[in-house]
């Protein structure tokens, strides 16, 4: 299955070039392109060959890590992607840690007394947040928090990588990670809450209760794990959406991750970079989804048995 999906993704990414109106070489390179560049592009895609062969020429290059060379910046697409990717990974990892760290305890609280005052507040709050797109959240955060408090929030030039100065790096990623965390939190909270409530109705919870163990232990040892399957599934699917929201946030805060690179490349009609990013990100999302499916099988032995 994985192979089929990755294969279709490569076909899709390859075919993108042919969506361009007219001769892709002309669109990509412009009318006054140098013969050298034209030759490079033709080599990359085998443009003068039949379409099936074009795909094989291109895929062979891709497998060897050759995503082509940007005709605008004259750098290899792969190195551009490799420089930007860690930033996305970092933002997403940070945001997920934040989202889970808040969603799990609040969902537990809510589920212990569904329709209690705390649950009502949390549920209403999550419902409102659900209706605020991430790009609105980030704009409002910049508007009301970052500018007022002087939280560093912008600048490609001022971006420092994790390895060179981790404090500055984390500071500059606080805002994007927080924004993504808000969106994820809402989804995780709602999914986990409703599953926990269902689980707490189960007979085995009454049985655990009859053993005389604490409420805390019942929640964490007995209720949490069987309630976390949908949570993990949602998290896996959510990653794709997170990347897209991450793109917007990066663009807004000028953080040079994949999203920022993607949008500037779209603006500059740097099609090879766009294609490279789309390919890498799509394959990445698929791999993450499969990883989550795998984790779910471990967490809930019922699923693999079915």
């Amino acid at each position: 299955m994985l192979i089929v999906i990755v294969f279709i993704i490569t076909v899709g990414a390859f075919y993108l070039i042919h969506l361009l109106p007219g001769d892709p070489a002309v669109v990509i390179l412009g009318t006054g392109a140098s013969p050298v560049n034209r030759a490079k592009l033709y080599a990359q895609f085998g443009l003068n060959k039949p379409i099936l062969e074009q795909y094989f020429v291109w895929i062979r290059n891709v497998v060897h890590g050759n995503l082509g060379t940007s005709f605008i910046t004259q750098t290899s697409v792969w190195s551009t992607v490799r420089a930007a990717l860690p930033i996305d990974v970092e933002i997403i990892v940070l945001s997920q840690i934040l989202a889970f760290a808040v969603a799990i305890p609040t969902a537990m609280r809510s589920a212990r007394k569904p329709d209690g005052w705390l649950d009502r507040i949390l549920s209403a709050g999550s419902f409102t947040l659900l209706s605020i797109p991430s790009f609105v959240i980030i704009v409002l955060l910049v508007l009301f928090v970052a500018i007022k408090l002087g939280v560093p929030h912008t600048g490609v030039s001022s971006y420092v990588s994790l390895s060179s100065d981790w404090i500055t790096n984390l500071e500059s990623l606080t805002l994007p990670a927080f924004t993504l965390a808000v969106g994820s939190y809402v989804v995780y909270y709602r999914v986990l809450r409703s599953d926990l409530i269902a689980t707490l109705q189960e007979e085995f919870i009454t049985m655990a209760r009859s053993k005389g163990i604490s409420q805390r232990r019942i929640m964490w040892r007995h209720a949490f794990r069987p309630s976390s399957v949908a949570l993990l599934g949602t998290a896996g699917v959510n990653i794709g959406g997170l990347l897209a929201s991450g793109f917007i946030v990066q663009y807004l805060l000028s953080i040079p991750g994949l999203g920022y690179t993607l949008i500037t490349s779209i603006g500059q009609s740097d099609y090879l970079v766009v294609q490279g990013i789309v390919l890498v990100v799509s394959v990445g999302v698929i791999l993450i989804n499969f990883a989550f499916d795998f984790i779910i099988n471990i967490v809930d032995p019922r699923i693999s048995r079915e």
């Binding site: 049985m207 009859s210 005389g212 163990i213």
Partner: protein
């Protein structure tokens, strides 16, 4: 008989649920007591409030939208009105429950060893090694072959009968004085049913427990209990020693139940007498005897006035009926 020997004394117990459609009297006016090392059977159709009664005695009823009144003294501990925290101290160690359906009462994502261990480690403070050793003993005790292997499996990998044995092992882990068995064989094959019931009986002798055995099948309690309570619509309608109730029952409902249970002595294809009608609506109980609408002996009085429990001839045998069956009548049990 002095109070000291009584393990369980229930007085005027009533459980009322507050539902969107009004109060629902699931259990009302229940009083009885149970000696140590004795087995009590509670019988009645499904929906008679047996499960709710059992849970209320243990204090395991839901924590919201429910009122419990009366008194339950369990080895000197007053369960009614006790806080969840206080009740935790008796749960597992004084009283434990074998749940109805082994398919749903075990945590599906927890290895069975861990589920048995839990009470040993958390409640009895055993270390990992001692708890595991004891858990293996328990698995052996309830007749699970190769316990060392089974210790590490998930419930889904076991058959229904095996799971119910695990449930029993878990209930026994805290060496409770009172074991509540809530229709422990409902979901199981007939052959397995007998095995499980025999196992419970053996364990009761071995561990010196008292047992409350709930069932809708009178045949099950006939040979395994010393006392019987017959429940209808949340109330006791007849109780007494098993022998007495089987031989000289007075309440028409008891007779109907007895006639409804299959007997080995009957030739095959004997028609089972189903009780006509259906159990009453607990939200809106009839004014008089709850069984009156289904009873062929019912009179106007039955429909107007509720009969209280009154003594029969034998000591301890009581029944609630205005038109009891004649004393001599007997159904071969």
């Amino acid at each position: 008989m002095s109070q000291e020997q009584k393990l369980l004394v229930v007085k005027d117990l009533a459980t009322t649920f507050h539902t969107p459609s009004g109060p629902l009297a699931a259990v009302g006016g229940v009083s009885f007591d149970l000696n140590q090392n004795e087995t009590l059977g509670i019988v009645g159709e499904s929906g008679a409030g047996k499960t709710v009664l059992l849970r209320t005695i243990m204090g395991l009823q839901p924590r919201t939208n429910v009122d419990v009144s009366g008194s339950v003294l369990l080895d000197g501990f007053e369960v009614v009105g006790a806080s969840e925290k206080a009740k935790r101290s008796i749960w597992g160690l004084e009283v434990a429950m074998v749940f109805q359906d082994p398919m749903t009462s075990l945590n599906p994502v927890m290895r069975i060893g861990k589920q048995i261990d839990e009470i040993l480690r958390v409640r009895l403070g055993m270390d990992r090694r001692a708890a595991k050793a004891r858990a293996l003993e328990l698995l052996e005790l309830v007749g699970i072959p190769s316990p060392a292997v089974r210790y590490n499996v998930f419930p889904g990998e076991l058959s229904g009968g095996m799971r119910q044995r695990v449930v029993i092992a878990t209930a026994l882990a805290g060496s409770p004085k009172l074991l509540m068995a809530d229709e422990p064989t409902t979901g199981l094959d007939v052959t397995i049913q007998a095995q499980i019931l025999n196992l419970l009986e053996e364990l009761k002798e071995q561990m010196k427990m008292s047992v409350v055995l709930v069932t809708h099948d009178l045949g099950v309690v006939a040979t395994r209990t010393s006392q019987i309570i017959v429940m209808y619509a949340g109330r006791i309608v007849e109780m007494g020693s098993t022998r007495e109730v089987f031989a000289h029952h007075r309440m028409p409902y008891t007779r109907a139940l007895l006639e409804g249970s299959p007997k080995v002595s009957n030739p095959s294809h004997t028609r089972l007498l189903a009780i006509p009608g259906r159990p009453p609506n607990l939200l809106n109980l009839p004014k008089g005897c709850s069984f009156a609408p289904r009873c062929s002996f019912a009179t106007d009085r039955c429909r107007q006035e509720r009969p209280e429990l009154e003594n029969a001839n034998a000591p301890g045998h009581t029944f609630a009926c205005w038109n009891p069956l004649p004393v001599t009548q007997s159904v071969s049990a």
